[in-house]
């Protein structure tokens, strides 16, 4: 029972990484922009966050640093894609490739640096409840922030006028432009917020999840987050659930190894990636379902004044 509680706790922890990134990508895609640079952004943010934590000793500043790095890279991407109308997929890829190299480059000085003693977080009283306590209430505050963020985003998208405008822009930027909305500025804002959230996710990986810096430590989570937004048909609550699901699958490999299951470790490591493929296959089968739920302008260039 104890180990199951720990498994749940680990799932929440792992899922939070994906949640922040996927929610950020959701905001992007709701505006009609798909950012394949998520992996690169997360890597650079991870090293930025780690470096900030090493130099300042503050987790909060580390997250701020990661968010800033993410927003900055996303802004560069956004300018290219929104004002110069470069191909979204190619530009995102370029960003990812750049991020892989740049993070490795900058991170060289930090592979040996260690963060200070990691504090143990626990919600008072609630964390002492048997089973539920260790499972849910001994998490880093960011875990709870992710849940709050999901709720806030859902409210924003479906209950606020600003959210309606965002959805309208993603549905038809031409119509929104004709009505006088500053489509390009809205999209840039969405891209930067999305980048900041991906950055927070990256910083979380290097500062909380596995507190160290190693080249390529994001290990594909940026790509999984992209798949997650599609899997969740662009709805915040489903994104969060999906993130926890994937977190669970990732943690399962450690649990299985712990139980002494006789499978080569590489097959366990493969699990999240195979799960992603499976999930994509399941959700994409019904093409009509996807088309009805997908923001219609994703990936397409927008030319005002045409």
């Amino acid at each position: 029972m104890d180990s199951f509680a720990l498994l749940l706790a680990a799932t929440l922890n792992s899922g939070t990484v994906l949640a922040f990134a996927a929610l950020g990508l959701l905001i992007n895609e709701r505006a009609g922009i798909v950012n394949l640079g998520a992996e690169g952004i997360m890597l650079v943010a991870a090293v930025a966050g780690y470096a900030t934590a090493v130099h300042t000793g503050s987790d909060t500043l580390a997250f701020a640093g990661g968010a800033a790095a993410g927003a900055l890279l996303a802004a560069a991407f956004g300018v290219l894609v929104i004002w110069l109308n470069t191909n979204q997929y190619a530009t995102g890829l370029a960003l990812s490739l750049f991020g892989v190299g740049f993070s490795a480059f900058v991170g060289i000085g930090y592979t040996q640096a260690k963060l200070g003693e990691r504090p143990n977080f626990a919600v008072p009283y609630l964390s002492d409840i048997p089973f539920v306590g260790p499972a849910f209430f001994r998490q880093h505050p960011m875990v709870y922030l992710a849940i709050a963020l999901t709720a806030a985003l859902a409210w924003f998208l479906y209950r606020s006028r600003a959210g309606l405008v965002l959805r309208a822009v993603g549905e038809s930027p031409e119509s929104a432009h004709a009505l006088g909305y500053p489509v390009r500025r809205i999209r840039l804002f969405a891209v930067m917020v999305g980048g900041a959230l991906c950055g927070i996710s990256g910083a979380y990986i290097s500062v909380v999840y596995t507190p160290l810096w190693v080249e390529g430590m994001v290990a594909g989570k940026g790509w999984i987050a992209l798949a997650l937004t599609t899997f969740a048909t662009w709805r915040p609550a489903r994104v969060l659930l999906g993130a926890y699901l994937f977190g669970g699958v990732t943690m399962l490999q450690f649990a299985l190894q712990g139980e002494g299951v006789q499978i080569a470790s590489q097959f366990l490591t493969m699990m999240p990636y195979l799960a992603t493929i499976l999930v994509l296959v399941l959700i994409s089968r019904n093409a009509t379902f996807i088309r009805v739920n997908m923001p219609a302008s994703i990936g397409k260039p927008f030319f005002p004044g045409s």
Binding site: N85, T86, V100, F102, F105, S284
Partner: protein, 373 residues
């Protein structure tokens, strides 16, 4: 202020100049980077752009590095032109290497040189199988090929790890994760004695010719391109998008697999966890910088090889980290995409016009009565 204005026709000049401009910008940024790192920028540029060309040996090394890049990029060019986004060439490269290694390890002491052919063919088939999975999942289930092909890269890496740490580990290898060194009979024939360069270079050049003919002189190539440029027109014309999908993926998977086979049966001579060298991703950049054109790809592959070799030299001579290569490569693609806008747009200076005051709303009284002026 600067303003972007659409050109009536795409600028052919900029089509060719854009990669050059992008390179120039990357070099400038590189120079700044060198200076920030406290290194002499001239020395840095020398190491990257002159050293790799200095001797015959250096040139053959350049050709060796460029070969897999050319092969993979040719396949990717077909893919990207058809709007099929195969990002997983790296995984197809690895699986091709695995398949080739599997065949190479069957060679006995009496096997003749002919075994090189099945080794290479196995590589092609291995790559095709791996990319075929992507095609199947997209064809049957509409699953996004970007994410599927990418996930398969991670899976391929794990499969490789499993093999070299497990069943294929060399029993006499001191427990290092590596297979046996392949017998000399399986080695890809070299071109000249004394140099490492092998017939892979010839294969690459032949492939360039073949792909040029495919893209620009065959109806199949035309169909692929229309499918990428205007899917509705392709449907109108009756071109099968399924055929295009499978052709593009199998072709690029095969090319990546061939590159993998050449690496493993050539300079490496065995399978190790370091087989994935990032060529599959670098080839994406090579394809783009080469304008998705077979001849352009030769030039961009040489350029990227210079980045690779320069990076290694910079590490040994200047103490700069090898990851600098990755930074430059990513930066090159980024700047290229930005410069490509100049093909379709012009930059114009527009003098700021004197702006009259904001439009005055009608006084409230008239609005509420709603009648008359």
């Amino acid at each position: 202020m600067l303003k972007l204005e659409a050109r009536p026709e795409q600028s052919k000049l900029m089509s060719v100049m854009s990669p050059v401009l992008a390179l120039a910008i990357t070099v400038v940024i590189g120079t700044i980077l060198f200076m920030l790192l406290g290194k002499d920028p001239m020395r840095g540029l020398y190491v990257f752009f002159v050293e790799p060309l200095k001797s015959v040996y250096a040139l053959t090394e350049l050709a060796m590095k460029a070969t897999p890049l050319i092969l993979i990029a040719l396949g990717l060019a077909v893919c990207f032109r058809s709007n099929v986004w195969n990002i997983g060439a790296e995984g197809q490269f690895v699986v091709g290497a695995i398949a080739a290694a599997g065949v190479a390890m069957q060679a006995g002491p009496d096997t003749g040189r002919w075994i090189v052919v099945p080794v290479l063919v196995a590589g092609v088939l291995g790559g095709m199988v791996w990319s075929g999975i992507v095609a199947f999942l997209r064809d049957r289930f509409n699953a996004n090929e970007i994410l599927v092909s990418l996930m398969l890269v991670y899976v391929a890496d794990q499969v490789l790890g499993y093999l070299v740490y497990g069943p294929w580990k060399d029993p006499a290898g001191f427990n290092f994760p590596q297979t046996i060194t392949f017998l000399k009979s399986t080695a890809v024939p070299k071109l000249f004695t004394g140099f490492r360069v092998n017939i892979g270079v010839i294969l690459a050049l032949l492939a360039v010719g073949g792909f040029w003919v495919l893209l620009f002189r065959t109806y199949a190539g035309f169909q692929l391109q229309v499918g990428g440029l205007a899917p509705a027109a392709a449907r109108y014309a009756g071109f099968s998008s399924r055929k295009a999908l499978w052709t593009a993926l199998l072709l690029s998977g095969g090319m990546a697999g061939l590159a993998g086979a050449l690496e493993v049966a050539g300079p490496l001579g065995q399978l190790t966890p370091y087989v994935p060298a990032g060529y599959g991703f670098a080839a994406i950049i090579v394809a783009y910088v080469g304008r998705l054109h077979p001849v352009g790809i030769i030039f961009s592959a040489i350029l990227m090889s210079m980045f690779y070799i320069g990076g290694e030299l910079a590490q040994s001579r200047l103490g700069l980290p090898k990851s600098l290569t990755g930074v430059f490569q990513g930066l090159l693609l980024f700047t290229l995409l930005a410069c490509d806008t100049l093909i379709v747009y012009r930059i114009r200076w527009q003098a700021a016009r004197p702006v009259p005051p904001k439009a005055m709303p009608i006084p409230a009284a008239t609005l509420t009565t709603g009648k008359g002026a």
